[in-house]
Assembly symmetry: C2
Homo-oligomer: 269 residues x 2
């Protein structure tokens, strides 16, 4: 099945546009997790299980697994082997390299681990992303306008009358590939309106509503399509205190996740 | 020791500006390697040992290790544990993400694996690279103008009178950090001349002379500083035929590597 169809089906079935970002920072793990044999695995599994009623999928931030060396990658592979059925699994890796190298990344994250989608960096141009794009049932979220301060450094540069991020979006939309969406920070509600107005079907992956503080009502007022995913990571994962016991920590995570999903649903109406 | 001093010392000591790119593609391994228990490890070790007389260091393309899953990363870690003394080790990863995520990549490649330098992608802005830059004895090669066709898509866009890649270079040179160099494809001899003329001390990492076909004499005529590294990967690694025996394959790799190093040395005079 094409990703766009899986995405649409999953959003409807789960009644959710929310993605939980799996950014497992071991310095923030609760005590009951730290005692386990593989805290990284246990924490991710715990978060996935406790939030699954309110989300449409998970975005794995590969950096946090790489930071633990090969054992971190082994854990990531194990978590992917145990994927929940009918959820969206996104690999947040922001890769992008010459063709023969991107091909290796595509093999790793699509062919081996079985992610549905991946985030990529556009700086090296469309050909650097082609090995991902050629897997037509997979999906690519290209970084367009990100939620960090540094997004102004280059993404907002003007070339002629257009910003770099707008040229990136146009170039990829005109690449002849259709399995492409974009990463747009939650802060950029009006720019998101513009994009989703002229191409209503473009899937967007939107970070920056949680710890990074994006304005949710403003964002949802301006979202003009149904294919968006809103990601929250730290605010959900570390909703509890490290000293909370399992039950209390679980309640806090679950409640934070439910609250955000409820907000999205009610604001979307 | 600061990287720039290590780089200078190593270039002089080895009499070489050549870096061998470790892009281990298992479909191209010679037969005598394929029979080994861990062909990935054996091939890299073989190439490193056979070329060390003619190079100043090695650039590891992380994608080829990631493609082999956690066992690939375990092999990469093992190769880094067995680093040759007094060589430059560069991690070619082209990472770049929001701060808390780039911090994880810096932990993985600098703190744990002990690479001297890393390649990064500038798209998300200077703050996305800061966790790398803050490790002041480590070094960051920022993608500026790459050797693939797609470099024209965004890197050569004009903003005002400057190309995006020129703005990237300026922004990073004015960031207040000094452990920064740039990746510039071998094809862009004249642009390299311009950059190395106005800031003679900027280290450059230059891919694209081998399989990608960059013009070496033209490049070296225009290089106006001593801190450059020229990378060649496929043309050296796969100089032999898969069916060659160890001795023949080794001679071909060694001779291709020596030939390139000799060319660089004689053209540089």
């Amino acid at each position: 099945m094409k990703y766009i169809n899986k995405l649409e089906k999953t959003i409807i079935k789960k009644g959710s546009h929310l993605i939980v970002g799996i950014d497992p920072d071991k310095t923030k793990f609760p005590e009951f997790i730290k005692k386990k044999k593989n805290p990284l695995y246990e924490f991710c599994k715990f978060v996935i299980n406790i939030t699954s009623d309110f989300v449409t999928g998970y975005k794995f931030n590969v950096a946090f697994f790489e930071a633990e060396g090969y054992k971190g990658i082994e854990t990531l592979e194990q978590l992917l082997e145990e994927k929940k059925k009918d959820f969206i699994y996104i690999c947040d890796a922001k890769r992008g390299d010459i063709g023969n190298t991107s091909e290796q990344y595509a093999r790793a994250y699509f062919d081996k681990m079985g992610f549905d989608a991946i985030t990529v960096s556009p700086y090296m141009g469309v050909d650097s992303i082609e090995p991902f794009l050629k897997r037509k049932n997979k999906f690519i979220y290209v970084l367009a306008l990100t939620s960090n301060k540094g997004s102004k450094d280059f993404q907002k540069l003007l070339s002629g009358k257009k910003h770099l991020f707008e040229i990136v979006i146009e170039k990829f939309l005109n690449s002849g590939y259709y399995n492409i969406g974009f990463v747009m920070g939650a802060d950029y509600a009006k720019r998101i309106k513009k994009i989703t107005s002229y191409r209503r079907e473009i899937p967007l992956l939107i970070p920056g509503v949680g710890t990074q503080g994006g304005d949710l009502p403003q964002l949802l007022k301006n979202l003009k399509n149904e294919y968006f995913l809103i990601n929250s990571s730290r605010k959900i994962l570390y909703a509890g205190k490290p000293t909370d016991n399992l039950k209390i920590y679980a309640e806090k995570v679950r409640s934070e996740c439910k609250k955000l999903n409820d907000s999205i649903k009610s604001l979307k109406k």
